[in-house]
């Protein structure tokens, strides 16, 4: 029987096939109907007459490996069936792209080279969703990309971005020195605040009996309440020590201040620092928040510059240690003077300016009620 006779008797046996060659050199037969779904293949068949036999197999682009071709053909096989609903297609697509990122990338690339736009869109969107919400490090990790951006230039004009400057700020040796000092002072501040609260707690007397205490000391720590209370006691005792240390620190700094006129400032602040250092080493475990690195850092700066920085840091340390209540008092009393000047006929702005200076008084401030938002009302 001739081929044509066969076609009449069993038409379904004569589905035309075409030959495709993938990047690895292997050649395979694929249903023409399905392969034609890819514009590139379609073009090769129609315009160049390729693919009808093994000898003139269509050479697929380099980015199309056999595995990718297989996936793409699955996609085409499903979508080229005309009767499917949008819902069906969407559902298929959603399952189709649930593959690992590496294959998703290959698939995007392959689909693009075959000009199969719907699949390119589908895979691109999937990749976009993977990228969204991730940090640059995470993206690099996922796509195996090199970390080769050394300049920060231009990376920061969008103020919504997390910036490199923060890293640079801590790399700057002057900032690092300052930061170490700030960190110490912060801990001190926090400690003092804690102690204020702790002292309030300590008002409650320990109501356990002498027996309980003895049994605890002797190691019969069955009573959870007992243990807890005693632990607190221990903590409180430690805090008390630190409190004493920090008060002595405060006293020391006061003493230092008095002696400062003409003295070597740097020397004395180093004293202050050393005291702060020892008391704060206990404070470490009480504070859960992240701190700047307190270890010795080889800053690698030239000594003359270091000295200049040290002097500035010491100067700054003095300012931080200065008596807050005194300054507040000073400020408030200057405010008092200005208050009496309020009723001069100098107009609204003077009044308002000085109302702001007299911090406690708000009666003259016309903008407070608007503070939360702009009100565009005509007065009525």
């Amino acid at each position: 029987m001739s081929e044509i006779d066969m076609a009449i008797i069993k038409p379904e046996m004569m589905k035309p096939y075409i030959w495709l060659e993938t990047s690895d050199g292997s050649i395979q037969q694929v249903e023409q109907e399905i392969a034609m779904y890819c514009p590139l293949i379609c073009q090769e068949i129609i315009q160049k007459g390729m693919g009808s036999s093994k000898n003139c197999a269509i050479c697929l682009p380099q980015r199309v490996s056999p595995a990718m071709l297989s996936l793409i053909l699955d996609y085409c096989r499903f979508h080229q069936v005309p009767g499917r609903s949008n819902k069906e297609r969407k559902s298929y697509d959603e399952k189709f792209i649930r593959i690992d990122t590496k294959r998703l990338c290959e698939l995007t690339s392959a689909a693009d080279s075959l000009q199969l736009k719907p699949l390119v869109d589908l895979t691109s969107r999937a990749l976009a969703r993977i990228i969204e919400g991730k940090s640059p490090e995470e993206i690099r990790e996922i796509f195996h990309l090199p970390d080769d951006l050394t300049e920060v230039s231009g990376a920061c004009e969008n103020s919504e971005e997390k910036l490199e400057p923060l890293k640079n700020a801590t790399d700057d040796p002057r900032i690092r020195l300052l930061n170490r000092l700030y960190a110490k002072k912060r801990r001190e501040l926090k400690e003092r605040e804690r102690l204020k609260n702790v002292e309030a707690e300590e008002e409650h007397a320990d109501e356990r009996s002498v027996d309980d205490l003895l049994s605890f000391i002797n190691g019969n720590g069955e009573d959870p309440k007992g243990i807890k209370t005693s632990k607190n006691k221990k903590k409180n005792r430690r805090k008390k020590e630190q409190h004493q240390k920090s008060t002595s620190l405060k006293e020391a700094s006061e003493v230092n201040k008095k002696e400062i006129n003409g003295q070597n400032i740097r020397h004395q602040s180093a004293e202050v620092d050393r005291i702060a250092e020892t008391s704060n080493s206990h404070a470490e475990d009480l504070f859960a928040q992240k701190e700047f690195d307190d270890g010795d850092i080889d800053d690698g700066i030239d000594p003359a510059l270091k000295e200049k920085i040290d002097r500035e840091v010491a100067d700054f340390a003095r300012r931080l240690n200065s008596d807050w209540p005194e300054r507040m008092q000073e400020f408030l009393s200057s405010g008092q003077e200005k208050k009496t000047m309020l009723f001069t006929p100098n107009g609204n702005s003077f009044l308002r300016r000085n109302a702001c200076m007299c911090y406690p008084s708000v009666l003259n401030d016309f903008t407070y009620p608007l503070y939360a938002c702009k009100l565009n009302f005509h007065p009525f």
Binding site: A128, D148, Y182
Partner: protein, 584 residues
């Protein structure tokens, strides 16, 4: 294990990027590696500059050569409350000039709190052939002549929105400058214009622009003209009425009601100046479809308000005066189950006594009944920790919470305690809270809560709160995502600021006015952190003429990559960084 990059051709990567629009993600992409940086910058179409002084126009156009849409913000938020003196800056002209050269295909410009002159508008009108969108929010400096230039030249204009801008209204005929052949208008917002516009020109414009979806009229458009305008644009989705009062005539009411019924797509209503309640029934036909209702100019009583809002079952956003009262808010809690955003404005903010029966209870009711509520701006005269606690527990999905108790430093009215615990509950339970405004009597403790729990907080507004530097320290050291911090009249000084100096480089800006930050500290900050512009605003004269320990009037600190700005007025001093000290 050797890392092999998943390589793509550039066009494919560009195509992937085209599905990524969010600025933050675009930023992340650009920081991945050199090749992605390059590809990303060439295909970036939309740029948002949160602070016009954070970067120079030249830098932006150089990095992003193919931008189609620019959004820029200028003055700090507190400019809205007259805390930023005249002539401070935020001039958009240098930006327009740079873009006129670099982006001939620019389509969209969106500006907020910037100074826009007629020259700018004229330059826009003649430089961008495809110009389509101009949105000016809280801007100033231009007149209707500038608008005329836009109308006359921008053939492809789709959106012209003047939101709350100060426009010198020279001539209402600027609207006539839209040529008769012009039909592409989609959105027109002239609600802030003071004077009349040429009504017949408006009517003709509205009826020939068949794609018009948004029309926000100004107060000067009389009510009896509204029906005609609506008939000319039955496809409208968003409408802002003009004045909503007229002599009561039944036929006018009937006419108006019929016109409203014809607008089947209407989803948003605003305007409502000078409402005569008997005309309100005209909008009843569209109420059930409304998703957004702005009644912040409607000075009508609770009963009329209730009649209106109780029919708005699809409402997602409601802005209303406190005339709504607790009773009205209860009705809303029962009827508007889809409500996402509520703003209640004070009808008499400067009055000493309450003029309406609106208390914390109203907000509590809404927080109970409206399960999707996530954005609140609420003015009231009393608040309690208990109420705030209830609100917090009811609505852990809250993302924006701005409370303004009208009397500064008002304590919990039941217990006379500070409101620390209440706001603490808000930040603790609302884990996605991004914006918070505080009021009432608050100690350092509230800031401790904010620093501990406010991990997603991006913007914080503080007034008349706190006791010591510790308060500010808690916020600066605890709020990991803080971008904007604005403070007025709080006893925060140098310590917390200096101890957290590095934090300032991770934020967009910090505003402090009437606080206790000394000039010396400002100088130190300016010296140590060259990537910040530390600007002292002081109308008393040069800060050098006073001791270093003197507190500055106002302080505005923002990060920048473009160095000092050159357009500061005489009362702004920038703290210099000492280039001699820098280690290059």
């Amino acid at each position: 294990m050797p890392r092999v990059a998943y390589s793509f051709p550039e066009e494919v990567l560009e195509h992937v990027f085209s599905f990524i629009e969010c600025d933050r993600d675009r930023g992340s992409i650009s920081l991945v590696c050199k090749s992605w940086y390059e590809i990303e910058r060439w295909c970036r179409r939309r740029v948002f500059v949160g602070n016009c002084y954070a970067v120079s126009p030249a830098t932006v156009v150089k990095r992003f050569p193919k931008v189609r849409s620019m959004a820029i913000k200028g003055k700090p938020h507190f400019a809205d409350f007259n805390l930023v003196p005249e002539g401070w800056g935020a001039y958009v002209f240098p930006w327009i000039k740079a873009m006129a050269v670099a982006y001939p295909w620019l389509q969209e410009i969106r500006l907020k709190r910037m100074v826009v002159t007629d020259d700018c508008l004229e330059l826009i009108a003649k430089s961008f052939k495809n110009f389509a969108v101009l949105v000016l929010t809280s801007c100033e400096g231009f007149t209707t002549d500038g608008l005329a230039a836009i109308a006359a030249n921008c053939r492809n204009l789709r959106e012209l929105e003047l939101r709350e801008s100060e426009v010198e209204d020279i001539c209402g005929h600027w609207l006539s400058h839209f040529p008769d052949s012009y039909t592409s208008l989609v959105s027109l917002n002239i609600s802030c214009l003071g004077n009349e516009v040429n009504l017949s020109a408006l009517e003709r414009l509205v009826s020939r622009c068949t794609n018009l979806k948004t029309l926000r009229l100004n107060r000067a458009v009389p009510l009896d003209k509204l029906a005609n305008l609506l008939r000319g644009a039955p496809q409208l989705v968003e409408l802002g009425t003009g004045t909503y009062t007229a002599e009561m005539r039944p036929e006018v009411l009937a006419n108006l009601a019929e016109a409203f019924s014809g607008c089947k797509q209407l989803k948003s209503l605003s305007g409502f100046w000078d409402v005569l309640p008997s005309y309100l029934p005209a909008v009843y036909p569209v109420c059930s479809n409304l998703t957004s209702l702005n009644l912040s100019y409607a000075t009508i009583q609770s009963s009329d308000l209730i009649k209106l809002v109780s029919q708005c079952e699809s409402l997602r956003r409601l802005w209303v005066l406190d005339y709504i009262e607790d009773a009205g808010l209860e009705v809303i809690a029962a009827s508007c189950k889809d409500l996402r955003e509520l703003r209640v404005f004070p009808s008499d903010p400067f009055g000493l006594e309450a003029n309406v029966a609106l208390t914390e209870q109203g907000l509590v009711s809404v927080s109970e009944g409206c399960t999707k509520l996530q954005s609140v701006l609420y003015f009231c005269r009393q608040m309690s920790n208990a109420a705030l606690n209830t609100i917090a527990r009811n609505r852990p999905n809250m993302t924006r919470f701005r409370l303004c108790i009208i009397e500064p430093r008002a304590p919990d009215y039941l217990t006379h305690q500070p409101l620390d615990a209440g706001f603490g509950a808000i930040v603790e339970h609302c884990k996605d809270l991004r914006r918070l405004s505080l009021s009432g009597h608050l100690t350092d403790r509230v800031f401790e809560y904010i620093g501990t729990y406010g991990k997603k907080l991006e913007m914080l507004s503080v007034a008349f709160a706190g006791e010591t530097d510790l308060g500010l320290h808690h916020v600066l050291s605890g709020c990991d995502n803080l971008r904007k911090l604005e403070i007025r009249d709080c006893p925060f000084g140098d310590k917390a600021l200096l101890a957290n100096a590095a934090k300032l480089e991770t934020m967009r800006s910090l505003w402090m006015s009437s606080c206790l930050v000394s000039y010396g500290a400002c100088k130190l900050l300016g010296l140590k952190l060259p990537r910040l512009n530390v600007e002292v605003i002081d109308e008393r004269g040069p800060p050098d003429s006073r001791p270093d320990s003197t507190p500055v009037e106002k302080l505005y600190i923002y990060r920048t990559v473009s160095g000092p700005r050159l357009d500061m007025p005489c009362y702004v001093w920038r703290m210099e960084d000492d280039s001699a000290l820098r280690i290059s």
